[in-house]
């Protein structure tokens, strides 16, 4: 077991090094340098551009730049090109904003997808099954931002609740209860919107897993023993169907950064996805690279944890 974990960690570290090299190469080899973002600015002379490039080591060969980046990243010295703030601090601030959105969206996804999927699998070919199948395909197929706009219009017109940003401007002196209610309202719609596509996909998986398990022999045995139907489905069936979802949970973690760009943009949510989007617009290479690198770490840690959990939960797996 310990051997297995150590070998896995070692493999993942090698993967991580390759990932960082590839993403560094992609970002730096693509045309469009930070110094060229504002080409029409008359104050930028050729020697200024040269000075900026030298200051950011952009005139060095690629592998030297890579070494500079890695060294700065691990000593905490990495500065953003745009405003010279430490990168880790900027990302950490945005991470704290993204976290509640991600946690609540994930919570909604898992809490909705399981009941829907299980019910659809148990009552196969019923009206509920057919309509939930159709609705989940429709939700997968609709562009996220189009649906969000429809919901924003509907919500603002019917319930008159705030949807944009993290809090209402000018409420700093209001009572604590009022402020926290305001925060909750601002959180609800974005979290719901970013949960929808995930819910649709996950409920399909739950349904197919469940309907596979329901045909197993041990289910028939459990029924033959005379167990109540609820216990058969939830105790014998669901527990076996749950196994593959450990893996899926590990794979949802990168959504923290990549999946939220669109929704954070729509709802003006100052999170990590938006930080990445702004960094891309400004050619802020340190932030883009560090975000990419952190996503890769999250994916690798997520898959490692799910591999280990898999072994812990399922006694049939041996190393």
């Amino acid at each position: 077991m310990v051997n297995f974990i150590l070998r896995n960690i070692w493999q993942r570290i090698i993967l991580l090094i390759f990932i960082s090299i590839i993403s560094h190469a992609i970002v730096h080899l693509a045309p469009g340098e930070p110094a060229l973002v504002d080409p029409s600015n008359p104050r930028m002379k050729a020697e200024d551009i040269q000075r900026i490039r030298a200051a950011f080591h952009l005139d060095e060969p690629l592998h030297v730049q890579y070494v500079y980046w890695v060294k700065d990243l691990f000593t905490g010295e990495l500065k953003s090109f745009k405003d010279n703030q430490p990168v880790m601090e900027k990302i950490w601030k945005r991470f704290l904003n993204s976290l509640p959105l991600f946690v609540i969206a994930t919570f909604i996804t898992w809490c909705l997808a399981f009941p829907v999927g299980i019910r659809a699998a148990v009552n196969r070919d019923s009206t509920f099954d057919r309509s939930s199948t159709f609705v989940s395909y429709a939700l997968i197929s609709i562009p996220g931002f189009f649906l969000s706009y429809l919901v924003i219009i509907f919500m603002v017109k019917t319930f008159n609740i705030p949807v944009l940003g993290m809090r209402t401007f000018g409420l700093e002196n209001a009572s604590f209860l009022f402020q926290s209610m305001d925060r909750v309202w601002h959180l609800t719609i974005p979290a719901l919107m970013s949960a929808i596509a995930g819910t649709a996909v996950l409920s399909r998986y739950v349904r197919s897993q469940m309907s596979e398990v329901l045909h197993q022999d041990y289910m028939r045995t459990a029924r033959a023993k005379g167990l109540p139907e609820d216990q058969v489905i939830y105790h014998h069936g669901l527990r076996n169907a749950l196994l593959p979802f450990i893996t899926m949970f590990g794979l949802t973690i990168p959504g923290l950064i990549g999946g939220s760009v669109i929704f954070e943009q729509i709802f003006s949510w100052p999170g990590m996805g938006r930080l990445g989007y702004e960094a891309i617009l400004a050619r802020d290479f340190p932030i883009i690279l560090t975000l990419n690198f952190m996503t890769a770490i999250l994916v690798l840690v997520g898959t490692l944890v799910s591999d280990i959990l898999y072994a812990v939960v399922d006694p049939r797996i041996k190393f």
């Binding site: 590839i22 693509a30 395909y137 609709i142 931002f145 950064i257 669109i262 891309i280």
Partner: protein
């Protein structure tokens, strides 16, 4: 006479069918998937004719600007006396209304059909080419050692590396840094989505490479690339077909998301995605500019998804045609 012949034939075993004929019959029983298949076929025809019409017939031109006619709701008849007669829309009626520059939304949607679908198909073409190539190599030469690691390990580790990138973020980075062009978008979407196909093809190849027909082909000294791509790939095509259908759907969605962030296909080329993201600025004054492209994307992507899902079920070897 005819009846007696059919009676005789039914006494024997039913005539044997090819794999595709058999699977096609299963697909036919799934009414929704079968319906969406024909819907997509007619959409392809529409895209083709739309391309021809917008290119060669003046009244269909989506680029005509009629500033005096902006924001007309759908189904408005053409009555303007300022705009010259040769700039009048199709059938003298704005079927889908006009946008902020007085362009005919119907003509733009028609043009967008071919552009959006070609973004989807070219991206999927790239995805399939790369995926089949890497999957095929990894599956066929899996046991060959290069130095201390096998070919299979190298390729599958590379697939793992690609899977670790947050896809949409990567697409966004590359598209934003490259000069805006419709080809870059197709290539980038294609190059970031081939990993699934490669895994499917490899898995199929692992079971195919030890089968008799491959051994027979090898015994006749057929070149290896020919064994891989002419003999083995057609046998591994079922999962590829499914992921291709679903891939077109997600490519269309990705393009519209990129358009929303301003990195999609640039004007004057119209796609459903950029008509939608332009239209959202006028959501309250001209809701049709948002709703028409939005629901078109929903309908088409839904059809691709349902068709792909139907194909997946039809190619599921556990299902057999029952009479």
């Amino acid at each position: 006479m005819n009846e007696s012949i059919t009676a005789l034939e039914t006494d024997e075993l039913p005539p044997s069918k090819g794999l595709f004929q058999e699977r096609w019959d299963i697909l036919k029983r799934n009414k929704i998937a079968y319906g969406s298949f024909w819907f997509l076929m007619s959409l392809l025809a529409l895209a083709f004719f739309g391309k021809l019409l917008t290119r060669y017939i003046v009244v269909f031109d989506p680029k005509i600007v009629r500033l005096s006619e902006k924001f007309l709701p759908p189904l408005t008849a053409f009555t303007s006396s300022i705009t010259p007669k040769e700039d009048a829309p199709t059938f003298d009626i704005y079927l889908f209304g006009t946008d902020e520059l007085g362009r005919d939304v119907f003509a733009r949607m028609l043009e967008g059909t071919s552009v959006s679908l070609s973004v989807g198909f070219v991206a999927v073409g790239i995805m399939l080419t790369v995926g089949i190539f890497f999957g095929g190599i990894a599956g066929y030469y899996g046991r060959v050692k290069l130095g201390f690691i096998t070919v299979d390990t190298i390729i599958m580790r590379f697939v793992d590396i690609m899977l670790c990138f947050p896809t949409f973020f990567l697409i966004l980075t590359v598209v934003a840094l490259l000069p805006p062009s419709i080809y870059n978008i197709m290539i980038v979407i294609g190059l970031t989505s081939w990993m699934g196909t490669a895994r499917f093809v490899r898995a199929e190849f692992l079971s195919l490479r030890d089968q008799d027909f491959v051994a027979a082909a090898r015994s006749q000294a057929i070149p290896e690339w020919r064994i891989i791509f002419i003999h083995m790939v057609p046998n591994a095509i079922a999962p590829v077909l499914v992921s291709a259908t679903l891939g077109v759907a997600s490519a269309i969605l990705t393009e519209s998301a990129l358009s929303f962030l301003g990195f999609g296909v640039q004007p004057p080329d119209a796609t459903w995605g950029n008509i939608l993201s332009d239209g959202k600025n006028f959501l309250f004054d001209a809701p049709w500019l948002t709703f028409i492209p939005g629901f078109t994307i929903l309908l088409v992507v839904l059809a691709f998804n349902l068709c792909g899902e139907g194909l997946r079920e039809a190619f599921n070897p556990k299902l057999k045609t029952t009479y």
